[in-house]
């Protein structure tokens, strides 16, 4: 079973993401900000990370950069799932090493398709 780390400061968003992914057979670990996400990623081997951008303590882009510096997460797909939709922010995400950028609100079927694609 693939393990996915879902990082978002909104409990509602984490619950929605977790429900969709678990309903498709994935195991989901949750974190409420970038700093906690980094701790969880250190403690557990995750196959995919889905993170929000604007969060307290550590934002999504900083989390992506920090994960890319870790040997175990150099090749792990990382998706930004955020309300930020500017081309500038997406370019920053790409430069930081993110695999993809999804703008909220997300469609569950689309999220699952993207997850399947990046986990292949």
């Amino acid at each position: 079973m693939k393990t996915i780390l879902a990082v978002d400061d909104s409990a509602t968003m984490r619950e929605m993401v977790a429900f969709v992914l678990e309903s498709a057979g994935y195991r989901v670990i949750e974190a409420e900000d970038g700093a906690q996400g980094l701790d969880r990623a250190n403690a557990t081997s995750c196959d995919l990370v889905i993170t929000d951008q604007n969060m307290p303590n550590m934002d999504g882009l900083t989390l992506v950069r920090s994960l890319r510096e870790m040997r175990d997460y150099k090749a792990v797909p990382i998706l930004l799932l955020t309300t930020e939709s500017s081309d500038n922010m997406k370019a920053q995400g790409r430069a930081a090493g993110a695999t993809g950028w999804l703008v909220k609100p997300f469609d569950p079927a689309t999220l699952l398709q993207v997850v399947q694609k990046v986990l292949r």
């Binding site: 968003m13 929605m16 309903s23 309300t83 999804l102 703008v103 909220k104 609100p105 997300f106 469609d107």
Partner: protein
């Protein structure tokens, strides 16, 4: 800018009158923004209350579905009725995200209102002794910096957002 330039050409009596007017404008605006801040907070609280109730209903349905699937999965893993219920729950997932998006929008407005209120309070503190020019500069700066550090979602509807794979 025009008002700031005009301020430089006033005599002492006119400057005092201008300062009085600015005090009235700043204090009235600050008071109205205070009411707006309270109403924004109320909107957020009402939205949270409604969303929490919807989430309880959502969890109830989702938990029942997962439990039923576990019981039945041995003999019929792909029951069509489960797929129908899951489709309904997925639709709910998309629209339950409205709480998060609208709450972020309200938060952005609260942030703007608070920044303006801080500047108006600062401008009012410059009225003893009255300094119309400094008050006006302070109010203009408040307006100019209202949008700084504001992260408002750009979504126009609850239709799903874009997907970019790099």
């Amino acid at each position: 800018m025009k008002a700031q330039q005009a301020m430089g050409t006033l005599d002492a009596g006119e400057k005092a009158q201008a300062a009085d007017l600015l005090v009235t404008v700043a204090s009235t605006l600050n008071e109205r923004l205070g009411v707006t801040a309270v109403e924004l907070a109320r909107s957020q609280a009402l939205l949270k209350e409604a969303s929490d109730e919807m989430l309880v209903a959502f969890r109830g349905a989702a938990d029942r579905l997962v439990a039923a699937q576990k019981i039945d999965c041995a003999d019929r893993p792909e029951k069509p009725e489960y797929t129908v219920v899951l489709d309904h729950l997925y639709r709910a997932v998309q629209h339950l995200q409205s709480h998060d998006l609208v709450s972020q929008l309200i938060e952005a407005q609260k942030h703007r209102v608070q920044k303006m209120r801080d500047k108006l309070t600062e401008a009012l503190s410059l009225s003893h002794p009255p300094d119309a020019r400094a008050m006006l500069d302070c109010i203009v700066a408040g307006i100019a910096h209202m949008d700084q550090d504001v992260h408002a979602p750009r979504a126009e509807s609850m239709q799903s957002g874009s997907v970019d794979l790099f």
